[in-house]
Structures are given as C-alpha cells and as structure tokens.
Amino acid sequence: MSGNNSRTIRRARAGTTEAPWVRYTLIAIALAFMLLFLVLPLAAVFAEALRKGFGAYLEGLREPDAWSAIKLTLITALIAVPLNLVFGVAAAWCIAKYEFKGKAFLTTLVDLPFSVSPVVAGLIYVLMFGAQGWFGPWLQAHDIKIIFAVPGIVLATVFVTFPFIARELIPLMQAQGNDEEQAAIVLGATGWQTFWYVTLPNIKWGLLYGVILCNARAMGEFGAVSVVSGHIRGQTNTIPLHVEILYNEYQSVAAFAAASLLALLALVTLVIKTIAEHRNEQALKAAAELPPERPAPAGV
C-alpha cells in the first residue's frame, strides 16, 4: 500500500519535469537564441567602437558635437524624468487607492503613449507647435522656438516616456492596499505625512525601477525626437541622433563610440533594475508574510 503510494508520488514528480536530454536541448536552444539576438548585438557595439583601437574610440567621443549631444541628452532626461515621476505618483495614487467611475478607461489612456508610434508622437507636436501648426504663428510672433529646438525634444521625450513610472507603481500600490495609509490618517497624520512616511518607503524600489526604465528610454529615444529635432549639429542633436548622423556619414567608429555610451547606460539600467526588482519582491513578500492586524471575520 505504502510502496504503491510512494511510487505514485515519484511518478507524479517525474510528470512535472522533462527527461534530462529534453531539458538540456531546450536550455541550449533558448541560450543560443539569446546569444544570437541579444548578446551579439550588444557585443558588436563595443567591438565596432574599438575596431581601430582605444585612441580612435576616445577621439570619436571627444568631438565637440558629441559633447553637446551628451549635454542635450542629459538635460532632456533631467526634465522629462522628474515630470513623469510626479505624474506617475499622482496617477498611481488616484488609480490604485480609490474606486471611481471610468478608472479602467483612465488606465488605458495612461498606457496610450506606449502604443503610439514614436514617429506619430513627434508629428503631433509638429502639428501643435510647428510653423504651420496651431500655435505656430503665435510662437513665431513672440520669437519662441519649440519645434527644431530643445523644448520640442523635451516634449516628445515626455510623451514617449509618459506611462513608465505610473505603470510600475499602479500594480504595486494596488497590491499593497490602503490599510497602512488609513492607519496613519486615523492616527492623525496629514496627507503629505502619510505619503512621505508610509507610502513612499513602501514603493521606493518600484519607483526606482520605473525611474530607471523611464530614464533609459528618455536618453535613448530616437523616432519621436528625430521628427521634432531638425538635426542641427551641436544644437538639437541628442546622442541617438548624433549616432545616426555619424553612421550615415560612414564614420563608423565614432558612431559606435557614441552608441557605446548608450549601450553602457543600458547595462547600468539592467543592473539597477535587477537590484530594484529583487528588493521590490522582498518587500512584497515581507508585506504578505506580516500577520494580519485584524483577524478576518469568519467565513471570508
């Protein structure tokens, strides 16, 4: 009887995994696919950048145009990320903490910029602020340049990175629920105190995760920025646009040198993201393992 039982258990266990050769084949195919499609492109960036030695690599980065592209990219991210950070927290607060009519629709609208083609994202700002756009004549009369200037680049970047932080925070804050905040309020904390001392510590890793992804996209955006930038060298070129110009001029080493900066940024992003994700999971697990403050009423 017991022997029969243990045999059944063993068979059931065996039934949830595959024969070793199947396992190794699947692992090998998955790794080969990732090597081909992810590792090789990444390695190629650095290989091409260093093709003519380290000196040529540095030479490519030392150009004044490269330097101004780096500066513009940093400025853009420094404006776009905080703007979307404030929005992300506000949107997550009202979507995750309350029930109201049209909430699902609002969530869809927040996600909308993700599914709009970057080129269309750039185009809509040209239609608003371009010479023939809605505000074009007015802007021209007041000598304000948005399109083919820095403000347009920032706006297009804000659009394409719009949902990143909100999207990370909404499911996280929904999972954490309102109990802790309600307790703080009942104990007399103000809304801001509750946010700073209760909510923020709970969401900080998710927040970091969203910020880092938002930043990577803000610094690397190409399509939307390319439409509104006008490609003025030394003035309205971000690093990705600088890469494109150099590449089209067959300055391969310089193009890949600039690209390698963005690839390094991507690697740093992945490292921070992995850490933040890990911490976030731990925080969620810790929250789940806490004993319930109030015993649930029987029958629930």
Binding site: V45, S117, V120, T190, A259, L265
Partner: protein, 296 residues
C-alpha cells in the same frame, strides 16, 4: 494645499459628513488633487496633441484623405510593416515561451544573468540596436560573412526588418508569460500524470491552455510595438520604396517634403490601428486576470 488635505483628512475621521462633498466614504486624502493633476497632465501631454492630429485630418477632403492613405507606395508599406511585425511577433511567441519556460522551470549556471539580459531590448536605445544589427548582418559582419557564401543576405532586405523587430519584441512575450508560469500549480500537472497523460499531453492539454491568455497578450504587445517601431528598422531596412519602406518612414518622408496633411493622414491610420491593438491587449489582459482568478 497641505492645509486643505489635512482638513479633509481630519474631517474624514472625526466627522464624515464634512469630509468633502465628493467622497464622503474616502478616508485617504488627495483624491481630488491627484486625479485633477493626472487629468491635467494627461490632457496637455497626450490628449490635446493627439486631437491636433485628428483636427488636421479634417482639413482634408475624404478623397484627398483616401488618396493619401491608399497610394500604392503607402499600401506596400502597410503590407511590409504588418507582415514583418506579424512574423517577428510569431517568432517571439515561440522563442519567448521557450525562454520563459527555461527560466522558470530549469536550473542552470548563469540563470540570473540570462534573466536580466532578457530586458536588454527595453534598455538599449533602438538606434543603437539598429546600427549594431546592421553591422552584424552586413556582408563583412560577424554573421553576415557566414551567411553570404550561402547566398543569404539579411541586411538591407525585408528579412532584416524582421530580425530587428524580433529583437525589439522579445521581452514582451517572456515578461508576460514568465509570471503566469511561475504561478502555475504543479498539482495540476501531477494529477495529469497520475491519470496517465504523457509529458507532451500534459503540456498541450494542461499547461498551454493556462498560459494561452498571457501568451496572446505578449504576442499582441510585441506586434503593437513592432508596428510603430522606427529607430531600429531604418538602419537595417535599406528603405527602398515599395520594397523595404516601413509606414513610419512614409510619414517622415512626407514631413520632409512639407506634406503635413499627407503625413497626418497616414499617421491617423497608424493611430487608429494602435488604438485597436491597445483595446485588444486590454481585453486579453482582462481575460488573463479572469483566467488566473478562476477557481482551479
């Protein structure tokens, strides 16, 4: 503002009747502020600029609009964009599932690293991916020089577009399927085996149905992303009219010729398609949640 929220907060606790006309039952303050700010920011960044696109379209007559969006060169670009995106999403469906499976079910050295690497396409700017894939597949590149003697050329051909779109879309499938596989109950598989199912039967009859919603969501997301993709594709595509010119590039081309109305017409077509895809994705996600929430 602080004063206002704290008053509302105290009101909510001590005298619910005074907690504000809008939401007598809400204990947490800040609903009006955050919802108001969300709607304001959403409007100025997304909704008003998008409406500019719609209004610009109304300056065209129906005939002009139809002519702009159905010109042979534009039609060819739709076929290419959707065909390549579909193929790429299909490849990602298969290999994304495989990678998610391997990451969830098996142990192997370097697994953490592989897991982190899956997100590379999210983090690597598309233009960098574009020039790097082109360098790999060009006739003197690492992969190109192996393929060229075999008579296979991928760079500057529609096939190159598919490769770039595979790169862009891979994480979508992996990251939607992975959590569902992690949550899948092994008991069901054990039960299937005890009842005499082979491993393959268990996979197709037990595991696959439970991850189908997630799989389709990932597929739709990868497809939606691929349809709008620009940066990684233009370097590798060759951009020949009628052959390897994607729809976003058509918009750029019209803009460069100051044909704003024509660019807008094609952009509206793309926008409508993104809307539809977004709704499909939302419906799939709702299905997935029902699936996950349903009693086993």
């Amino acid at each position: 503002m602080t004063a206002a929220t704290s008053v509302a907060a105290r009101g909510a606790v001590s005298a619910p009747a005074q907690a504000g006309r809008r939401a007598p039952k809400r204990v947490l303050p800040g609903f009006g502020l955050t919802l108001g700010y969300t709607l304001f920011y959403l409007s100025i960044i997304v909704l008003i600029p998008l409406s500019a696109l719609i209004f610009k379209t109304f300056t065209l007559t129906w005939e002009q609009f139809w002519a702009a969006i159905s010109a042979p060169r534009v039609m060819a670009s739709y076929r290419l964009t959707f065909g390549a995106s579909f193929l790429a999403a299909l490849v990602n469906l298969v290999f994304g599932l495989l990678i998610a499976w391997v990451l969830v079910r098996y142990k192997f050295p370097g697994k953490k690293l592989v897991d982190a690497l899956v997100d590379l396409p999210f983090a690597l700017p598309t233009a960098v991916a574009g020039i790097s894939l082109t360098a790999l597949l060009a006739s003197n590149g690492w992969i190109g020089q192996i393929l060229e003697p075999l008579g296979i050329q991928l760079a500057f051909k529609p096939a190159g577009i598919v490769i770039a779109l595979i790169f862009i879309g891979l994480p979508f499938v992996v990251r939607t399927v992975q959590p569902v596989l992690e949550d899948a109950e092994k008991e069901l598989e054990e039960a299937a085996t005890c009842l005499g199912a082979t491993r393959l039967q268990t996979f197709t009859k037990v595991i696959l149905p439970s991850i189908t919603p997630a799989l389709l969501t990932g597929f739709a997301m990868a497809f939606a992303r691929a349809v709008g993709e620009y940066g990684s594709v233009i370097f590798i595509a060759g951009n020949m009219p009628m052959v390897s010119e994607i729809t976003p590039l058509i918009i750029i081309g019209k803009l460069e010729q100051y044909d704003y109305a024509g660019a807008t017409a094609v952009a509206v077509v793309m926008l409508v398609i993104s809307f539809i895809l977004l709704l499909v994705i939302n419906a799939l996600q709702a299905w997935q949640r029902r699936h996950a929430g349903a009693p086993a």
